[in-house]
């Protein structure tokens, strides 16, 4: 893989930045500014927000995030395996099944422990 192969990604990033920046800039310059009580509400013609947006989160979200990171790392190990899966044959399949089985024990453990429950 040559470095030039990344050029489309790079161009996409530049276009994305320019598009977002340009849209904000144009709407800032062209748009009319009229402020009213309704317009400045977070959801115009929508739900009336309750409380402050910057209030503390429940610790439950953090638990989900921790578990997500762990399974995220598991997925990262699956990428290189998936790329050469056909070359490895049955041997590679068994290797990854052992890997997954060990983590499955942990998954069942946290499930039984109730860490996945939103209580």
């Amino acid at each position: 893989m040559e470095l030039i192969d990344y050029l489309p990604i790079f161009i996409l990033l530049i276009i994305a930045v320019l598009f977002v920046g340009g849209t904000i800039l144009v709407s800032h310059m062209v748009g009319r500014r009229k402020y009213g009580k309704e317009k400045m509400s977070p959801y115009e013609s929508g739900m009336i927000p309750v409380g402050d947006a910057r209030r503390r989160f429940s610790v439950k979200f953090y638990v989900v995030a921790i578990l997500f990171v762990i399974f995220d790392i598991e997925v990262v190990f699956m990428y290189p395996w998936a790329v050469i899966f056909k070359k490895l044959g049955v041997f590679g399949f068994v290797e990854m099944m052992i890997f997954i089985a060990i983590l499955l024990v942990g998954f069942i453990y946290i499930w039984k422990k109730g860490a996945l429950e939103w209580a």
Binding site: D52, R56, V59, Y62, V63, A65, L67, F77, P80, K113
Partner: protein, 173 residues
């Protein structure tokens, strides 16, 4: 290789600028958000150094996972709404000591490293190579990683249960 250098410096500038924002921003939420660009810039540098798998992992784990964790941690702090004091400087003396220590290490690395890799870099897809090494030569470490992840999973579950029980202690049980 002129354009190569320009792109590397662009990424380096993104990293330094956003890292400065992380350190100097008065608002913790802005700090956490600026960290996104730092991680992203590091991923860019990985790509430039022909470590494409590492770049993908950087995006997947750090941008997708760790950053979410950090933002949740920020949202959990109880003084989140006090913008003025949410990122104060604490203990400048100890901080300076740590700074000197880190600077010594960093300067050592900076002067020892051979920076210009012109003509030495070989760009190739590394994912298959890593997979080959991981599932053949380093098979045991690979399986042990899953045990490590298992330990992390169980540790998280144990801490969580304690937390939830503590929260409920005024309640039913």
């Amino acid at each position: 290789m002129q354009s190569f250098n320009i792109v590397v410096y662009v990424f380096a500038a993104i990293i330094v600028a956003s890292a400065a924002l992380v350190a100097f921003s008065r608002n913790l939420v802005y700090s956490a958000f600026a960290l996104l660009f730092t991680f992203f810039g590091v991923a860019g540098i990985y790509v430039m150094l022909s470590a494409d798998f590492l770049a993908a992992v950087q995006l997947l784990i750090y941008v997708g996972g760790i950053l979410v964790l950090i933002i949740f941690a920020v949202m959990l702090t109880h003084r989140i709404s006090d913008v003025e004091i949410s990122n104060q400087s604490l203990r400048p003396a100890q901080g300076a000591l740590i700074l000197i220590g880190i600077m010594a290490v960093l300067l050592g690395v900076i002067f020892k490293t051979q920076w210009s890799l012109e003509g030495q870099l070989e760009y190739q897809a590394t994912t298959a190579l890593i997979g080959d090494l991981l599932l053949k030569k380093y098979l045991l470490p690979f399986e042990i990683v899953s045990v490590l992840l298992l330990a992390a999973l169980m540790g998280a579950a144990v801490i969580v249960r304690k937390e939830v029980r503590g929260e409920q202690s005024g309640g039913k049980s």
